[in-house]
């Protein structure tokens, strides 16, 4: 009987040598005359163990990792094809504590299935949500999403159902669904994992959105830095068209939904929804004034739903199991699950999907295992390059949109970047200003000029020049950016800058 072996095709696994491992396994099996079936799955999200190789046994899937190509012949010697013991053996994958403690709803299939196999997708619960949606009235689909309490996972946390409702109730001959897949925040990779590891769930989510609000065209605006996601999405979209899940008369419903992937071109600001739409229209990614809201006048001036990858990928489970099922996870007004991404200087980096409510400390130490360097954790940046730095004193903050807001911090897209005590926070504040300067679209003055002046002021501060004058100047500048910018790029750059200054004044040359 053939032995099934899984080696991830996720780009982080590839970056650690998964392709060479896959080749070595194929060659070694051929040499030994073993009949194997090699499946390229997504990643389980335990990245310190990648490349994580799994073998199907009678007891379940057994994991080995991190495997390098040079380990492969030894693994065969140890009988790993039957789950044999080896120094890299980790036991049953789904019994690993990091994995077992999670609540995987959006990520239910990722790492388990072959991402571009529609058969795998359907066998593992896929397209049940769409099937239900096709039998429902528009308003009932929107209501299910509203009832689930799902809020925009891109970072703004706006209730998804309310956005859909606006588009549904705006009359137009053409409406659009846009998936914002311009995941530019450092420390985030959950969108990438979905697109590479389970592209059909995004396609299904977008199709349901199209059916719900009567939109017939969807676009996935994907960052160019994600070539593997581009290939996986296109392969899955082609299959979905062939099998009647996209195009005209979806599953015999008489409804149409077309879907296309469009590539960005390295502009961070295009993750802002109005800038993204300008870019999709073939223009410079300049931020638009709001109102009008995209839900009323969006892409090409038509009503448009713009949702993040995780928001849309969470829709199928909501339509499958009902809004109440999803809403029962979480805390306060933060309902459902959040796929958290642990990154930077952390021993066990990876993806942790859990209902809202866990504290930062539990994530950093129980899941993350502390810093990778073994040194004390000094600060964590949550929510990407526009997110605040949190000192140890704030590590008991629960993951909840409102709890973060109360601390003048943001949960954003759920990325957590860990720094040990060797970091200089004044340098990080300078970097935030520099990043804003590089990525500013240039439309509004506070962001365009303010970021340049911000780098200059930070240079003066780092060199100890005139602190009495320059610290108040930095605060004043941040106040202008915060209140005067057109979008979150200029408007939130003060979060990392001021949090660094407030929590770590000694790094700015100020005696605390």
């Amino acid at each position: 009987m053939s032995i099934t072996i899984y080696v991830p095709c996720d780009s982080s696994a590839l970056s650690m040598g998964a392709e060479r491992v896959a080749k070595a396994i194929t060659q070694e099996a051929a040499k030994r005359g073993l009949d194997i079936k090699l499946v390229r799955n997504g990643s389980r999200g335990m990245y310190w163990l990648e490349p994580l190789v799994e073998v199907v046994t009678a007891n379940g899937r057994v994991a080995y990792g991190p495997v390098q190509a040079s380990d492969v012949s030894g693994l065969f010697d140890a009988g790993f094809t039957e789950g044999g013991a080896h120094a890299l053996s980790l036991g049953l994958t789904e019994e690993l504590a990091y994995f077992k403690k999670q609540q995987r709803l959006t990520f239910a299939r990722i790492g388990k299935t072959d991402p571009i196999s529609l058969v795998d997708y359907v066998e593992n619960g896929g397209y049940r949500g769409l099937k239900n949606a096709l039998a429902m009235a528009h308003a009932d689909i929107v209501k299910a999403v509203t009832d689930s309490g799902l809020r925009g996972r891109g970072g703004a946390a706006f209730p998804t159902g309310i956005k859909w409702n606006t588009v549904l109730n705006t009359a137009s001959l053409q409406k659009y669904i846009i998936c914002n897949a311009d995941e530019g925040d450092s420390g985030t990779f959950s969108d990438r994992m979905v697109m590479e590891g389970d592209p059909f769930v995004l396609i299904e989510g977008m199709t349901i959105a199209g059916v719900a609000v009567d939109a017939t065209q969807g676009y996935i605006y994907l960052r160019v830095e994600y070539p593997h996601a581009f290939d996986a999405l296109n392969a899955a979209i082609a299959t979905a068209y062939q099998e009647g899940y996209l195009g005209e008369n979806i599953q015999g419903s008489g409804l149409t939904f077309n879907l296309e992937v469009r590539l960005g071109a390295g502009a961070y600001v295009c993750g802002e929804e109005t800038s993204l739409m300008e870019s999709l229209e073939g223009k410079r990614g300049l931020v638009r004034f709001k109102p009008p809201l995209p839900a009323i006048s969006g892409l090409f001036g038509q009503p448009t739903v713009v949702n993040n990858v995780i928001s849309l990928a969470s829709v199928p489970v909501i339509l499958d199991k009902g809004g109440a099922y999803y809403r029962d996870f979480g805390m306060g007004r933060s309902r459902g699950t959040l796929p958290v991404q642990l990154a930077g200087n952390i021993k066990h980096p990876g993806l942790v999907e859990l209902g809202f409510g866990l504290t930062l400390r539990e994530l950093l130490y129980d899941f993350g295992g502390g810093s990778a360097s073994g040194r004390p954790i000094k600060a964590v940046q949550v929510g990407g390059p526009l997110g605040a730095y949190l000192p140890e004193a704030q590590f008991d903050t629960p993951l909840d949109y409102e709890a973060f807001t109360a601390n003048w911090t943001v949960l954003g897209h759920g990325g957590i970047v860990v720094f040990d005590d060797t970091v200089n926070m004044a340098k990080m504040a300078r970097y935030s200003m520099e990043f804003c300067k590089i990525e500013s679209c240039g439309k509004c003055t506070p962001c365009r000029i303010g970021s340049t002046r911000g780098v200059e002021v930070m240079d003066d501060i780092i060199n100890g020049r005139n602190l009495d004058k320059n610290i108040p100047l930095l605060r004043d500048l941040c106040d202008t950016l915060l209140n005067g910018s057109l979008c979150a790029l200029g408007g939130m750059t003060p979060y990392p800058v001021l949090s660094a200054l407030n929590h770590f004044p000694e790094d700015f040359g100020i005696n605390a």
Partner: protein, 158 residues
């Protein structure tokens, strides 16, 4: 046909194939850069004509996006991540090493034309920082030594 003539034929084919898409400019620019490695200045008038835009509008779009380039790149372009997660894992020291090793700064190409170096702000490989990308290949937990090995191997390939 002259080299420039061949280039213009390629550009024209891409424009013809894509110009009827809604919002066709970015797909066209990607098509040209995929085919030629950059967007030659003399392709701008053709793109402008094809899409009924002014040359200034086309130039404005090319210059807005960091990814598009108007000069030919080296044989291989190294995209080195500068973002926070990579910084937390020694990205800055790696950046210094890379620049010293190649003898160039960001946005430059080595004198022998083999490598161009570009900064990138996140490759989504933050769980394996520091990261870089060469072509479609992504590399994780890059060290000075592993960088040197990759460069030596890819020189051997080119």
């Amino acid at each position: 046909m002259t080299e420039s003539g061949t280039t213009q034929t390629t550009v024209q084919e891409i424009i013809t194939a894509l110009k009827d898409k809604p919002g066709a400019l970015l797909p066209i620019l990607h098509g040209i850069q995929d085919a030629l490695g950059y967007i030659p200045a003399d392709s701008i008038p053709n793109i402008a004509t094809g899409l009924n835009l002014s040359r200034a509008e086309v130039h404005g779009v090319i210059s807005f996006y960091h990814y598009f380039r108007d000069t030919p790149p080296g044989d291989q372009t190294i995209h080195l991540c500068r973002a926070e997660s990579c910084q937390a894992m020694g990205g800055e020291q790696l950046e210094e090493h890379v620049k010293r090793k190649l003898g160039i700064d960001f946005h430059e190409t080595t004198a022998d034309g083999k490598f161009s170096l570009e900064p990138v702000y996140c490759l989504g490989n933050c769980a394996c920082s520091p990261a870089m990308q060469i072509g479609k290949e992504i590399y994780g937990r890059v060290t000075a030594d592993s960088f040197d090995t990759v460069i030596t191997n890819s020189e051997a390939l080119s």
